[in-house]
C-alpha cells in the first residue's frame, strides 16, 4: 500500500505557469517587454517549487506519495473525482523533466524568437502548454489527466500553427489536431469503460481494483481490462506519435524549433509513455495488452528509423528519430520494464531536446535553411553548436558512456531478458539502434563536415548563436552526457513494482557498441570520404529508395482510404441530409412562423371595437365550453 501524505505544496508548481499564461494573455501586448521576463521566469519558479516538493517527498519513507486535494470536482452517484494532484517518484521524475528542460527551452526561445514581433503570444501558448503538461503528470486521477492531455493537444495545435500566415503551417496544425482527435476519442471511451466497470478513476482506487472485480469483467465477450488498455493505447499512439497515428509529428515541425524541442521531443509526446507506465498495473491485468504495446513500439522504432535515413530536411530527420525513440520507450513498457522506459524518456528529453535546439541554432545561423543538401562544413563557423550537437549525436547513437547508451541498452537487453521478453523484439531493437547511429552520423556529416554547399549570401552571414541560446545547449549537452548515471529505473520501480533484471552480458554490450560506432563510421565513409557513393546506391536501389524517401507513402495511403471517403461522406451529409432535410425543416418552420406572424399583425387592427368583439367571442367560447362540454 502507498503511504499517502496530504500537502498543499503541489498546486504551486502548476500555479506559476498558469499565472504566467494569464499575465502574457492579458498584459503581454500592453507591456511587450514583460513577456520575455515572465515567460521563462515562471518556469524557473515552477522548477524551484517542483524541487521543494520532490525534497518533501524524498524525506518520506519509501512507497509514499504526496496528495494535494484542491476541491471536490465531480461527485455523481458513486463516482467521486476530486481536483487533486499526486506526487510519487514516477510523477516526480516527470515534473522535474518538464519544468527543468522546459525552463532551458524557454530561455533558448528568448534568443531564437528575438526578432519575432509576436513574442507575447508565443510565451502565452508556451506557458499554457507547461500548465497543461504539469496537470497531466501531476493529476491524481485519469479525468484530470485527460484535462491536461487535451490542454497540451490544444497548445500543440496553436504552436504548430504559430506562424499562421503560411497556409502549410495551419494545415500541419490541423493535421496534428485531427490525428489526436482519433486517439483522444478512444481514450475517452476507455475512460467511460473504467467509470462503468471500476467505478473509480484515481490512482489509489485503480490500484485497489487490480485485486477486485475488474479483472473478470467482460463486455460483449471481450475482457474489459483488455478493451480499456487497447483503447488507452490508441490514445497513447495519437499523443506519442506511434503507428498508426504518427503521421502528424513530421508535419508538426512547421512550428518554431524550440516548440519542436519542448513539445514534440521532450515532453508532450512522452505523455503516452507516462500513461502506460502509470497504468502499468492495469495493463498487467489484461493478457495481450502489454504485448500489443511492445509490438507497436518495436515496429515503430524500426519503421521510423528507416524513414529517417532518407530525409534531407534536418528537422524531419529529428522528427522521425523522435518517433523511433518513442517506439523504444513503448517497447520498454511492453516488455515489462516501465522503469527503463521512463529512464529512456528522461535521457531522450536531454539529448533530443539538445539536438532540436542545435538544429534550431544551425537554422538560426543559416537564415532559416533546413535542407542539409545546402549545408556542409559548418563546424568551424559555429563551433559551440557543433560540439554540443556532437555530444547529442553520440548520446542518441548509444556510444558509451553517454546517457543514451545506458537507457537504450537497458530496453534492448530487457527485450531479450525482461519479464515479457521476446528475442525478435530484441533483434528489432538492435537493427533500429544501428540505423539510429547511421542516420545521426549522416546528419552530422552532411551538416558539419565535407565541402561547404552553402550559397554565397548565406555564407557571409553565418554566425554563432548568442549566449542565451548556447548556454542552454551546453547545459543540455552536459545532461545528455552524464544523464546515464541518474538512478531513474530504481526510482520509478518504487511505483511500478521492482523488476529483477540480470546485468547484460559483455557480448550484448559489445554488439550494441559495435552497432553504434559502426553506424557512425559507415556514415562518415559514405558522406565524407566518398560523397558520390550515396547517390549511386540510391540509384541502384531505385524504387525502394524512392519509397523510403517518400515515407512509404503512408500519408497518400491514409488520404485514399480514410481522408477521401470521410470527406465524401461529409459532403453527402452536407448536401443531402443538411441542405435538404435539416435546413428544409428549419427554414420551413421559420417561413411558417414569419408568415403566420405577418398575418396576425393584420388582425391587430388597433380598432378597439374589433378587440372587444374578439374578447366577447372568447368569453362566449369559454362559456359554451363549460355549458356544453
Amino acid at each position: 500500500m502507498v503511504n499517502v501524505v496530504a500537502t498543499d505544496a503541489l498546486r504551486w508548481i502548476v500555479l506559476f505557469p498558469a499565472l504566467g499564461f494569464l499575465w502574457n494573455l492579458f498584459l503581454g501586448r500592453r507591456l511587450p517587454g514583460s513577456a520575455k521576463l515572465v515567460g521563462p521566469g515562471v518556469l524557473l519558479a515552477a522548477f524551484v517549487a517542483a524541487v521543494f516538493a520532490v525534497l518533501e517527498l524524498h524525506a518520506l519513507p519509501e512507497h509514499s506519495a504526496l496528495q494535494d486535494v484542491m476541491f471536490p470536482w465531480v461527485h455523481v452517484g458513486t463516482l467521486k473525482v476530486d481536483a487533486a494532484f499526486w506526487l510519487d517518484p514516477l510523477s516526480a521524475v516527470m515534473v522535474l523533466v518538464v519544468t527543468g528542460v522546459g525552463f532551458l527551452i524557454h530561455l533558448y526561445s528568448l534568443g531564437y524568437m528575438a526578432h519575432d514581433p509576436d513574442v507575447p503570444r508565443y510565451f502565452t501558448y508556451l506557458n499554457l502548454f507547461v500548465t497543461a503538461m504539469l496537470i497531466l503528470v501531476l493529476a491524481d486521477n485519469l479525468l484530470l489527466l485527460f484535462v491536461g492531455w487535451e490542454g497540451v493537444g490544444l497548445c500543440s495545435y496553436l504552436l504548430v500553427g504559430f506562424w499562421w500566415t503560411k497556409d502549410e503551417n495551419c494545415t500541419a496544425g490541423k493535421k496534428a489536431m485531427l490525428a489526436n482527435r482519433v486517439g483522444d476519442a478512444c481514450f475517452l471511451v476507455g475512460l467511460f469503460l473504467l467509470i462503468q466497470f471500476a467505478g473509480t478513476l484515481d490512482w489509489t482506487g485503480l490500484a485497489q481494483q487490480q485485486v477486485d472485480g475488474l479483472r473478470t469483467a467482460t463486455l460483449g465477450g471481450w475482457s474489459v481490462p483488455l478493451l480499456v488498455c487497447l483503447l488507452l493505447l490508441i490514445g497513447a499512439t495519437g499523443k506519442s506519435a506511434q503507428i498508426p497515428l504518427y503521421v502528424w509529428l513530421p508535419d508538426a515541425m512547421a512550428g518554431p524549433t524550440p516548440v519542436s524541442a519542448l513539445i514534440h521531443a521532450a515532453t508532450m509526446v512522452t505523455a503516452g509513455v507516462y500513461l502506460t507506465s502509470r497504468l502499468h498495473g492495469l495493463y498487467a491485468l489484461a493478457p495481450g495488452a502489454l504485448e500489443a504495446v511492445a509490438v507497436v513500439g518495436a515496429v515503430t522504432a524500426l519503421f521510423a528509423a528507416t524513414i529517417a535515413v532518407a530525409q534531407t530536411d534536418i528537422k524531419k530527420v529529428l522528427a522521425y528519430s523522435t518517433i523511433s525513440q518513442l517506439g523504444y520507450m513503448f517497447l520498454g513498457v511492453g516488455v515489462g520494464l516501465p522503469g527503463a522506459a521512463i529512464f529512456h524518456l528522461v535521457t531522450h528529453a536531454f539529448f533530443k531536446g539538445l539536438l532540436f535546439l542545435c538544429a534550431g541554432s544551425v537554422m538560426h545561423a543559416m537564415g532559416g535553411e533546413q535542407d542539409m543538401r545546402r549545408m556542409g562544413g559548418l563546424w568551424r563557423k559555429i563551433p559551440i553548436t557543433f560540439a554540443t550537437m556532437a555530444v547529442g549525436t553520440l548520446a542518441i547513437a548509444g556510444v558509451p558512456p553517454l546517457s543514451g547508451f545506458w537507457s537504450k541498452d537497458e530496453i534492448i537487453w530487457g527485450a531479450f531478458a525482461g519479464p515479457r521478453a521476446h528475442p525478435l523484439l530484441g533483434v528489432v531493437g538492435y537493427v533500429a539502434a544501428g540505423l539510429t547511429a547511421f542516420y545521426m552520423g549522416r546528419l552530422m556529416c552532411l551538416t558539419f563536415f565535407g565541402s561547404s554547399r552553402v550559397d554565397h549570401h548565406t555564407e557571409e552571414h553565418l554566425h554563432e548563436s548568442p549566449p542565451v541560446m548556447t548556454i542552454p545547449l551546453i547545459v543540455l549537452a552536459v545532461l545528455a552526457a552524464v544523464g546515464g548515471w541518474l538512478p531513474v529505473p530504481a526510482v520509478v520501480e518504487q511505483v511500478t513494482g521492482a523488476v529483477h533484471l540480470e546485468h547484460a552480458p559483455l557480448a550484448a554490450l559489445a554488439v550494441a557498441v559495435t552497432l553504434a560506432v559502426g553506424g557512425l563510421v559507415l556514415a562518415w565513409g559514405l558522406y565524407v570520404t566518398n560523397p558520390a557513393l550515396p547517390d549511386r546506391i540510391a540509384a541502384a536501389l531505385g524504387g525502394f529508395y524512392r519509397l523510403v524517401r517518400d515515407k512509404y507513402r503512408i500519408d497518400e495511403l491514409y488520404d485514399r482510404i480514410i481522408y477521401r471517403p470521410v470527406l465524401a461522406m461529409a459532403d453527402a451529409a452536407a448536401w443531402v441530409v443538411d441542405r435538404t432535410l435539416i435546413d428544409g425543416i428549419v427554414n420551413g418552420v421559420g417561413t411558417f412562423v414569419v408568415s403566420t406572424s405577418g398575418a396576425w399583425r393584420r388582425v391587430q387592427t388597433g380598432n378597439v371595437q374589433h378587440y372587444a368583439l374578439s374578447f366577447l367571442a372568447g368569453a362566449l367560447a369559454l362559456a359554451t365550453y363549460y355549458l356544453v362540454g
Binding site: 391587430q604 374578447f615 365550453y625
Partner: protein
C-alpha cells in the same frame, strides 16, 4: 371592549400594514409635491422608495413570523403566499420608481401625479395578493387598474398614449363586467363570496352550471389582466403607447398581482373543479405562448416585441397553475419573481438608450450600440438571454422549474409545446443582440445623458437576474414555503 377584541383588531391592521404603509406613502408624496417648488422631484421618488422599503420590511417580518394570517373576517389572508407577492410587488414598484426619476423629468410628466398613482396602484395590488374574498378581489383589482389606466395616458400631448389609456380603460371595464358577473354567479350558486366557503359549498353540493359559468367569467376577467389569448388584444397597443416606465410597471407588477389573485381563486376557491379548469387552462397556455412568440417574431419595435414577449411569458407562467401541484405553484412564484428582474432590466436599458423625441425603440436603432455603449449592451444581452431561457441566467432556471412541474403533472405534450416556443423566442430575443453587436448604424448617439437612478435600477435588475440564475436553491425554497401556506 375586551382584551380579545383588541387582539383581533390589532391582527386585522397587522395584516393590512404593508398596504397601509404604501397608501400613507402615497399621501406623503402628494403633500411633499405641494410643498416642493420646481425641480428636486427626485425627492418624491425617494419618499416612495422609502415607503415601499418599509412595506417590504413589514412583509418580511410577517413572513418570518407565525401569526394568524386571517384578518377582517377572513376577507384578507396575510399568509406567506400573499406576503411573498407583497414583497415581489413592492420590489417591482420600487424598481419602477428608480427607473422613472430621470424619465419623469425628461418627458415632463406631472411628477406628483405619477408617483402617487404608482403607489396607490401598488396598494391595490397588495390587497389583490391578500384577498380571500371575491368582492375584495374585485375592489382591489379596480384600485390597481384605475391607477394604471391613468398612468398609461400620462403623456397628455401624445396621441398614442391617450389612445392606449382609452383602449385599456374601455376593455378593462368590459373585463371587469365579466369578472363581476362571474362573482355574482358564484354568490348565487354558493351563497358566499369567500373563497374557502365557496370551495366547501361546491364540495357539498352537486355541480351546478352556474358555478361553471361563474368560473368561465372569472377566468375572462383574470385572462384580461394577465393577457391570455384571446383577451390579449389590448396589450401590444397599450404597452407601446404608454410611457415606457408605465409599460414596465404593467408588465411586471400588474401581472404578478393579477396572477397572485388568479392562482388563489382557482386553487383555494375551486379545487373541486380542477379537472374542469386544468384542461382549459392548458389550452389557453399553449395558445397564449404560441401566439405571443410567433407574433413577436415579426415586430420591428423592441417595445412592441417586449409586449408580445410578455404575453408569451404569461403563457409560460400559466403552466405553474396547470400543473396544479406544490412544485408547479412554487415554480409559478419563482418565475414571477425572476420575470420582474429580467423584464425591468430590459425596459430599463431600452429607456437608457432613448431620450425625449428620440425613443430609439426600433430594432434598427440598436445597430452598433454594442460598441458605443458596451456596458448597456452587455446588460441588455443578459436580460434578453434570460428572457429566452439561456443558462446561467434566471430565466432558464424559472423555465426549468415550470416545465419540469408540468411534466411531473403528466402534461408532457404541453411541456413540449413550451419548449418549442422557447426555441422560437430565441429568434426574436437574439434580434436586438445581433443588431447591437453586428449591425452598423448610428441610431443611438455616443453620448447619453447622465442618469444615475436609471443605471442603479439596471444594475439591481442585473444582479437579480444573475443571482436567481446562479444560486436558485435558496429563493426556490422560499417560493415553495410561500406556496405551501396557501389554503
Amino acid at each position: 371592549m375586551t382584551a380579545l377584541d383588541v387582539a383581533a383588531f390589532a391582527a386585522n391592521w397587522q395584516a393590512a400594514l404593508p398596504a397601509i404603509a404604501v397608501v400613507l406613502t402615497a399621501f406623503a408624496v402628494m403633500i411633499v409635491d405641494l410643498l416642493l417648488r420646481d425641480g428636486g422631484r427626485g425627492v418624491l421618488a425617494g419618499v416612495g422608495i422609502l415607503g415601499l422599503g418599509a412595506a417590504v420590511a413589514v412583509a418580511v417580518s410577517a413572513w418570518a413570523g407565525d401569526g394568524d394570517p386571517s384578518a377582517f373576517q377572513d376577507m384578507l389572508r396575510a399568509d406567506r403566499y400573499g406576503l411573498f407577492f407583497t414583497i415581489v410587488i413592492c420590489v417591482s414598484a420600487a424598481l419602477t420608481l428608480l427607473m422613472s426619476v430621470e424619465f419623469v423629468r425628461e418627458w415632463m410628466l406631472p411628477a406628483g401625479d405619477f408617483y402617487t398613482l404608482v403607489l396607490l396602484s401598488t396598494a391595490g395590488m397588495i390587497f389583490l395578493a391578500l384577498a380571500n374574498d371575491l368582492i375584495v378581489v374585485f375592489v382591489a383589482l379596480e384600485t390597481m387598474s384605475v391607477g394604471v389606466y391613468v398612468l398609461s395616458g400620462l403623456l397628455r400631448g401624445d396621441l398614442r398614449s391617450n389612445e392606449a389609456s382609452m383602449k385599456y380603460f374601455l376593455l378593462g371595464a368590459f373585463a371587469s363586467g365579466f369578472l363581476l358577473y362571474g362573482v355574482a354567479f358564484f354568490y348565487g350558486a354558493t351563497g358566499s363570496t369567500q373563497l374557502d366557503v365557496i370551495a366547501e359549498a361546491i364540495a357539498r353540493r352537486p355541480l351546478e352550471p352556474f358555478v361553471l359559468l361563474g368560473m368561465a367569467f372569472v377566468l375572462v376577467g383574470f385572462g384580461f389582466k394577465v393577457a391570455l389569448i384571446p383577451f390579449q388584444a389590448w396589450t401590444p397597443d397599450v404597452y407601446e403607447g404608454a410611457p415606457t416606465v408605465v409599460t414596465a410597471f404593467m408588465a411586471v407588477a400588474v401581472k404578478a398581482a393579477a396572477f397572485a389573485a388568479f392562482a388563489r381563486v382557482f386553487l383555494v376557491g375551486l379545487p373541486e373543479l380542477a379537472t374542469h379548469w386544468t384542461g382549459l387552462l392548458s389550452v389557453l397556455a399553449a395558445l397564449t405562448m404560441t401566439v405571443g412568440n410567433v407574433v413577436a417574431v415579426s415586430q420591428r419595435s423592441v417595445k412592441r416585441m417586449l409586449a408580445y414577449s410578455s404575453i408569451a411569458h404569461a403563457g409560460y407562467a400559466l403552466l405553474g397553475l396547470v400543473a396544479d401541484s406544490p412544485p408547479g405553484g412554487a415554480a409559478l412564484l419563482y418565475y414571477l419573481m425572476v420575470y420582474v428582474f429580467m423584464n425591468v432590466g430590459a425596459f430599463g436599458v431600452l429607456i437608457a438608450l432613448g431620450r425625449r423625441g428620440e425613443p430609439n425603440d426600433r430594432l434598427d436603432d440598436l445597430a452598433g450600440v454594442g460598441f458605443r455603449h458596451p456596458l448597456l449592451a452587455f446588460c441588455m444581452t443578459v436580460f434578453l438571454l434570460s428572457l429566452a431561457g439561456v443558462p446561467p441566467m434566471a430565466g432558464f432556471i424559472g423555465k426549468f422549474y415550470l416545465f419540469s412541474a408540468v411534466i411531473d403533472a403528466g402534461h408532457t405534450g404541453l411541456a413540449l409545446i413550451a419548449v418549442v416556443n422557447s426555441a422560437i423566442s430565441v429568434y426574436y430575443y437574439l434580434g436586438p443582440i445581433v443588431q447591437m453587436y453586428l449591425g452598423e448604424g448610428a441610431g443611438v448617439a455616443a453620448a447619453l445623458p447622465a442618469r444615475p437612478w436609471l443605471l442603479a435600477c439596471i444594475a439591481m435588475a442585473l444582479v437579480g437576474t444573475l443571482f436567481l440564475g446562479i444560486f436558485p436553491a435558496g429563493p426556490m425554497q422560499l417560493a415553495a414555503a410561500s406556496f405551501g401556506s396557501l389554503r
